[in-house]
């Protein structure tokens, strides 16, 4: 599904990713952990194609295709979803219209006709229910005036609606209270079960007790310095990052 080879990337003239290798298959759950500044968000943004990030070496292959030079919307239509760490507020952009446009753009790419308003409403209601979100959200602007937790839940809601092939969730767990964390974890599990490859980028082990990863990677200074099973997260929590860095 996703194959990252020797990825080097720069932002603001500074080399942040220094040779990342990662392979994720459909239905798998990977967790990427690492201290602040290790390059976690950069990796997420580079995969989604944020314009300020420049790939200087290596490649990102998605669904068998090199996507290094693709614009962000094309990547999204191919099935890449990024749950943002800090979702922007879009005052005046209505949530419903926004989601419908996104869904129809992706459907068009897959040669499907626009989703009927009825079908959309059903899907929307179902997912709102899943995440226990307020129905009035439809009337509001995207992320505008949302609390930190609401923004994160809104990102997961969008993931459920867009049904991506690959979901990268950048610190989606931070800022959530325990009830919200349960809801979000359930939603991620259900999307994962349907075959979506999932990459959880996180600081904390907490979410991994609800969403079981098959693989855990430690990103440090722009490289993956250690990969292992779920147990690695436990070791990490006990020993701290230093233990893994020194080994290198």
């Amino acid at each position: 599904m996703l194959e990252i080879k020797n990825l080097h990337a720069k932002v603001d003239g500074e080399l942040v990713l220094k040779g990342v290798n990662l392979s994720v298959l459909a239905g798998e759950v990977h967790a990427i952990m690492g201290p602040n500044g290790s390059g976690k968000s950069t990796l997420s943004n580079v995969i989604a194609g944020k314009p300020e990030y420049e790939i200087t070496d290596g490649e990102i292959v998605f669904d068998g295709k090199n996507i290094n030079d693709l614009v962000p919307d094309e990547r999204a239509r191919m099935g890449i979803f990024l749950g943002f760490q800090y979702p922007v507020e879009l005052p005046g952009v209505r949530f419903r219209q926004y989601l419908k446009t996104a869904i129809d753009s992706i459907r068009k790419y897959r040669n499907l006709s626009d989703m009927s308003p009825r079908e959309f409403t059903d899907l929307y209601d179902k997912n709102l229910e899943l995440l226990k979100m307020d129905k009035d959200l439809v009337k509001r602007s995207v992320n505008d005036g949302f609390s930190g937790g609401e923004k994160k839940r809104s990102e997961v809601l969008q993931m459920c609606m867009l049904q991506p092939k690959l979901a990268i969730l950048d610190e989606t767990d931070s800022g959530l209270d325990i009830d919200a964390l349960h809801l979000v974890a359930n939603a991620i599990n259900s999307v994962s079960k349907s075959g979506t490859a999932t990459v959880l980028v996180t600081h904390y082990k907490r979410i991994l007790t609800y969403v079981k990863p098959q693989y855990v990677h430690i990103l440090y200074n722009g490289q993956i310095v250690e990969s292992g099973s779920e147990k690695l997260a436990d070791d990490l929590e006990k020993k701290g990052y230093d233990a893994f860095v020194k080994k290198n």
Partner: protein, 411 residues
């Protein structure tokens, strides 16, 4: 630059200069006229239009509104819904023919001015639009006053005058709109006076939708008494040169004004907004929020001044002017001024100018929406904050439709 006086003399044949215009001074040197280039206007000779009332139903006409239609400055009885009784006066009237005391007493207040264009308006205005509501009169239907200029061989000039007087406790919704059936040059020089007495409430919408070669100069003077309320939206689009001056006096305690503006310029257009809000007594509140979308070689200027007098304690005032610049040749001048002489106040202003935020575009693109659609979505969202505040559904939908029909030139 030729002067106002020279221009007037060119427009009116010798001996025909109306009123005392020949003596009017050129009073355009102040900051408030700094960004308005009148030379293009002064290069054109305008004549007064002859009677030409042959007009089909205006473009923007709603049967469930009370409509007042003025064609080339003349009131059209047949297209309008006149109401005259002891409590309510709604219609078009002539200061010479109609002797209703409500008109006469009102006119006295607007007679004296030192503004040349207001003088011109006083001198050649033909029929006035008048809405006068006695105490506690509430008009439920929106009242739509429209001014239409039809096709002429030569550039014509009309000077609409609008008088709105709300006695204590009364309320109404007024839409004042300007259209042209003509694609040629014409000048509309309007003057609106709004008096909102104690606890009265007005929703006032002013729509400038004139032709690409037209000129518009308009003044709106509002006087708010105790507990009075003004909810307002100013929409400007079209016109080669348009300038709207809005003066609001917060003259009574607990009065509130909420004023939104949206301007959209293309080609070589130039739109000016000059706004003065004077807080003169304690406990008043004003919100002033303008937005601009600029394309091509167009230019917009915003000059807003919040004045808080020494006695006007507990004033709350907010003003902001935000601009989206979609072309490297467009230019925006913005000047949000605070002039404050009372200490117990909360006053804020903000201004922005620039392109659409890159991170917002990226966010939408990361959801699969292409760049062009994402940009259009964000422009519409930008404008919608203003348009959403408009009360009559029909007007709100109409403004959306013309905005969506605009072809934004995207960089």
């Amino acid at each position: 630059m030729s002067s106002f006086v020279n221009w007037i003399e060119k427009c009116f044949p010798a001996g025909d200069v109306p009123g005392n215009l020949s003596g009017t001074l050129d009073n355009f040197s102040g900051e408030e006229w700094k960004n308005t280039n009148l030379s293009v206007l002064f290069e054109t000779n305008f004549i007064l239009p002859g009677a030409n009332l042959k007009i089909s139903k205006p473009v923007l006409y709603f049967d469930d509104f009370l409509n007042l239609v003025f064609v080339n400055g003349i009131y059209s009885e047949s297209l309008s819904n006149t109401i005259v009784n002891k409590d309510v006066l709604i219609g078009g009237f002539s200061k010479n023919k109609d002797k209703d005391h409500r008109i006469a007493s009102y006119l006295d207040q607007t007679d004296v001015t030192n503004d040349p264009f207001k003088e011109l308006n006083n001198a050649i205005n033909k029929d006035m639009a008048v809405i006068s509501l006695s105490e506690n009169q509430i008009i439920d239907k929106p009242i739509h006053i429209m001014f239409i200029t039809t096709e002429f061989d030569q550039p014509v000039m009309t000077c609409p005058k609008i008088l709105l007087k709300l006695e204590p406790g009364s309320s109404c919704t007024v839409v004042e709109s300007y259209f042209g059936e003509s694609q040629g040059k014409y000048l509309t020089n309007s003057s609106t006076t709004i008096e909102v007495n104690d606890s009265a409430k007005i929703n006032y919408y002013r729509l400038l939708l004139q032709g690409a070669d037209s000129f518009h100069l308009g003044t709106v003077d509002v006087d708010l008494k105790a507990n009075a309320s003004l909810e307002s939206t100013f929409f400007s689009k079209g016109s080669k040169l348009s300038r709207t001056e809005l003066n609001v006096l917060m003259n009574g305690s607990y009065s509130e004004s909420s004023i939104n503006g949206l301007y959209h310029t293309v080609d070589e257009q130039h739109i000016d907004n000059v706004i003065n809000i004077d807080h003169l007594v304690p406990n008043t509140k004003s919100n002033l929020i303008y937005k601009g979308i600029l394309e091509d070689n167009s230019r917009a200027s915003y000059s807003g001044k919040i004045f808080v007098a020494q006695d006007a304690q507990k004033t709350y005032a907010l003003q902001s002017d935000k601009n989206l610049i979609l072309s490297d040749k467009a230019r925006v001048n913005t000047k949000p001024i605070l002039e404050i002489f009372a200490d117990d106040v909360e006053c804020f202003h903000g201004a922005t100018a620039g392109a659409i935020a890159e991170d917002a575009i990226f966010y939408l693109m990361s959801r699969g929406i292409d760049k062009k659609s994402a940009t259009e979505m964000l422009i519409e969202a930008f404008a919608s904050e203003t348009i959403d505040g408009i009360n009559p559904d029909a007007i709100r939908q109409y403004l959306y439709s013309i905005l969506l029909n605009s072809k934004f030139v995207l960089v």
